[in-house]
Symmetry: C2
Subunit: 206 residues, 2 copies
DNA sequence: ATTAAATTTAACTAAAATCGTAAATTATTA
DNA sequence: TAATAATTTACGATTTTAGTTAAATTTAAT
């Protein structure tokens, strides 16, 4: 029988945070319940008090993770700053979260358990809608040219983190700072001439 | 019976390179022989033709790795460029190789098998001597002030990669490029005033 | 085309790792 | 102090992995 809901329980939280970092780094199958328990200084029996099995644990981690992501998105969306700054913060958010987990983790999420797969897909869908609405609103306000499908902007943001870590691009622009600058210039100005002195980093402070 | 020496064998090389990337990323115990074989498209029987067991494989990977490292060091040492440029290249080399493997891998190397542990320690020792000699020579030539123990320079170089990835330092200097610049300034000038326009990256080209 | 070598497939056993649970222990509260 | 809740220890059942072997298949060389 599973004890619910132990959100403020010390042992429970230790298990979740320990598991999160291990699973995000190595994926699901490489990490055993016993390892999580050891690193979290919690006995296995206590684990089974709070979780049915590993997939159940992963599910709860994912729920937390998605909730956090949505909350951070909404916080940026509702800030009282220029649209351009919001865009940058969203891209930084995407880059930061993309570095948290490995591809392996997402692959396993999709490859093994049906529940987890469905949860992840519906969460992705929900987030997509949220961000799409944000871009549609921005278009109505004239922040973007209206001929661009908002889904394409999402696609771009999704792929910036990929491009930032792409080995081929790394050989072309080795410095991460410069690489980010160039990617931003493409996003905001395409191949047209643009004000090359923009330091996108500087817009992020605060 | 183990077949020797199959350096130019395709399957052998596939096993070694596949294993290397898996082991460096996840450590030894998380990776199974069967996984290595699958990813390398080599059957288990062929694996046992070339290696006694996992530790034997790791040993051969380490040997290659150490040899490569020494070769790259010597190449830099013997280049016909200013000493300062050599220093920078060595630091870059250290940074690059440090990113290849995870701490987990080294920990397991020291924690489990006695042979591997000894091999790694003696290899480290040998490398230390090599680098120490380089610095002593540089001191004789007046490249460094003679009051600094060469071992301390090695210690510094060893720790630059650590500092580059240190979370606390990341919050202080978030941009990797800037962080590297500042670390280089400390190494070369200490807290004294220095020519702040030096772009260490630029010295690396070629 | 024939032979020899390299590789794979498919089984199998022993050992080790992992899961999940019942009973014992410790901490907490009434 | 007695009752209850939280946690651990210790253990059997299950699964995974390591390491071998025999026979079939592919590859390369003669």
């Amino acid at each position: 029988m599973i004890t619910e809901p132990p959100q403020d329980n010390k042992k429970y939280q230790d298990l979740v945070t320990t598991a999160r970092s291990l699973l995000f780094k190595h994926g699901i199958k490489r990490v055993t319940i016993e390892e999580i328990c050891e690193k979290a200084n919690v006995s296995k029996v206590t684990f089974y008090k709070y979780f049915h099995n590993k997939d159940d644990l992963v599910m709860k981690i994912m729920e937390d993770w998605v909730d956090d992501g949505v909350r951070e998105f909404l916080a940026i969306r509702d800030e009282n700053i220029p649209f351009m700054d919001k865009m940058l913060k969203l891209i930084r958010l995407k880059l930061a979260t993309a570095q948290e987990y490995s591809d392996e983790f997402i692959d396993e999420l999709m490859g093994t358990n049906e529940n987890l797969k469905q949860f992840y897909q519906s969460a992705t869908m929900k987030t997509m809608e949220l961000v799409t609405d944000f871009f549609k609103e921005a278009q109505r306000e004239g922040q973007f040219r209206k001929t661009v499908p908002p889904e394409f902007y999402i696609y771009l943001i999704e792929h910036i983190s990929e491009m930032m870590n792409d080995d081929k691009l790394k050989t072309i622009i080795s410095d991460p700072h410069d690489r980010f600058q160039e990617l931003m210039n493409i996003i905001f100005f395409g191949f047209n001439e643009c004000d090359k002195t923009i330091e996108y980093d500087k817009l992020m402070e605060g």
